[in-house]
């Protein structure tokens, strides 16, 4: 049904290689998130799958057939754009009905499908409004509505939540996950927000400079990052990296330890340091500790801390949670 396979897909704009020989298997019904820093090629990869860009080399298989040269409309995929790309002169109803109208469905079928989509997305009261009369979240839902009426093989989302405020973003995140549970259709979702990636994905694809760094389930990437880039990208706040002699004691060029895997004590421990800035979030506190002979290390602790700027603390990494990397940044297992 909705399985998509990328086979050595490359894309270059002129002389710059934006996507470099990407291999990827996406199973039917999976929720796959592409994540990576800005400019790493997430949108480009999504647009290649959508057919909005031509591949430079490689093959794209959709549902078992070669779709590399197929026009976007023929690939049976739906896309939700970052700017929503609603048609401003059409009402919500006409926007959602547009793909059905283009497919030549008759009025009764269109009305029924638009009605269904509007009900799923809570848009029934807004069907006769124009997009400019809607809030950001409602516009987002119209864009999703336009995508789901076509009953595509897979949905493609390009940073659909980046224009929304924080609270709404959390809401829409849940709604999209809920939609995925209901429809059980393959979804490919691009974001640079690793919280979105961790919470929504069945499978995360971490990209960097046009290459896949690692593919795996959220917890897989969290617990067993394949390299230093993934280790630093997944998890918030970032993993601490320690180089030099301290890393050498563990037989590695670099060791990494997450802020939540450091024990804090005022009396004794492995690393001695002074407290710098502490960020209090209520449930958590992040301490930025200047450790002697190492660097600034971030440590997570519970809500109430009695440490002040300049106090001396001791940090101790949990031994089984230390990640070891070689000189090339690859994980040592």
């Amino acid at each position: 049904m909705g399985n998509i396979t990328l086979d050595k897909v490359s894309k270059s704009f002129g002389a710059t290689n934006v996507i470099q020989s990407v291999d990827l298997d996406i199973e039917d019904g999976e929720f796959v998130v592409f994540v990576g820093p800005s400019g790493c090629g997430k949108s480009t990869l999504l647009r290649l799958i959508a057919g909005l860009e031509d591949v430079t080399s490689g093959r794209i298989m959709i549902d078992g057939t070669d779709a590399t040269g197929l026009a976007p409309a023929k690939r049976r995929l739906s896309m939700v754009f970052q700017s929503y790309a609603l048609y401003p002169h059409m009402s919500v109803r006409q926007n959602i009905a547009f793909p059905l109208k283009m497919a030549g469905d008759d009025r009764a079928v269109i009305d029924r499908k638009v009605g269904d989509a509007a009900r799923i997305l809570n848009l029934t009261d807004y069907l006769d409004r124009k997009p400019r009369q809607l809030s950001g979240g409602q516009r987002q839902r119209v864009a999703i509505g336009r995508a789901i009426v076509r009953e595509p093989e897979a949905f493609l989302f390009d940073e659909p939540l980046s224009n929304l405020d924080a609270a709404l973003r959390v809401n829409m995140r849940l709604e999209i996950s809920e939609l995925h549970q209901q429809l059980k259709t393959t979804m490919i979702y691009v974001t640079h927000d690793q919280v979105e990636a961790m919470t929504m994905a069945d499978k995360i694809v971490v990209l960097s400079a046009g290459r896949i760094e690692q593919v795996g389930s959220p917890l897989d990437l969290y617990k067993r990052p394949a390299n230093r880039f993934v280790a630093g990208f997944i998890g918030s706040p970032k993993m601490n990296f320690v180089e030099g002699s301290e890393a050498g004691r563990y037989g590695a060029a670099v060791i990494g330890i997450r802020p939540e895997h450091l024990a804090i004590s005022t009396t004794e421990g492995a690393w001695r340091g002074t407290v710098g800035v502490s960020e209090q979030l209520g449930s958590d506190t992040f301490l930025h500790v200047h450790v002697d002979g190492i660097d600034t290390i971030t440590a997570r602790t519970g809500g109430e801390v009695v440490l002040d700027h300049g106090d001396t603390v001791f940090l101790t990494p949990q031994p089984d949670k230390i990640h070891k990397f070689d000189a090339q940044g690859m994980a040592i297992r």
Binding site: A50, L52, A71, P72, A73, L77, S78, M79, F81, S83, A85, Y87, P88, H89, M90, F98, P99, M102, A103, R146, R150
Partner: protein
Amino acid sequence: MATLQTKSAARMMMAPAVIALLIWMIVPLSLTLYFSTLNYNLFNPAETPFIGLMNYKFFLSDPAFLTALRNTLALVAGVLVITVGGGILLALLLDQEFYGVTIVRLLVIAPFFVMPTVAALVWKNMMMNPVYGVIGQFLNWVGIGAIDWFSNAPLTAIIIIVAWQWLPFATLILLTALQSLSEEQKEAAEMDGAGALSIFWYITLPHMARAITVVILIQTIFLLSIFAEIYVTTSGGPGLQTTNIPYLVYSQALLQFDVGGASAGGVVAVVLANIVAFFLVRLIGKNLDA
């Protein structure tokens, strides 16, 4: 302009401009209205008796008036159809990326900078002349045979000349509208299964609706008063075939020396322009609402 004080200050500041503009408009208009009620002929300027609405009666009952009205509307409609249709096509073409597009854009705009009289003379003598004009030669070469434009299809000839002059304006406005259409919208339509024609019809054309409205309104205002092109090519002829209202007013005043009649004609032209504007705004004005 939030407070009372700033409001009255603003009024005082604007007053000189408003008053100057008012005088600028009122004086000629009231003079025209005044002359239109006089029997004022340049052969006998000493005697200008008041004759009420007689000038209007003569102007409106003149068979030339209806012909001129028909010609005026045909001219406006013909030029609008050509410039809007051609403007959309040219704008679509110039929106593409191709080698030398900047130079082509410049060339397309060029006719707008040619003075109407010059443009009309160039068309009359170099393009449309049946013996040595380019079009005649071309038609001969194709085998259709040259057309004597100004005797056989004089109004069409004028429409072609005026349309040529206004095509750049329409193209320019429509091109800027086209360029403001977001690429993502077209891509979304493409993914929704719309072909090139459907994208044009459902996405591009509605996007350009406002610009098309502006083109139609502005051009109509100017096209109602076309004069120079007619004056230097056909002088309103043959017969009355290319006489429009402005030309009829001119011939009343300066060929028949009847200032009173010409003034009445001028007032009628103003009223007609307002009627046309009223219907236009009713018809397409809603496109201008945000």
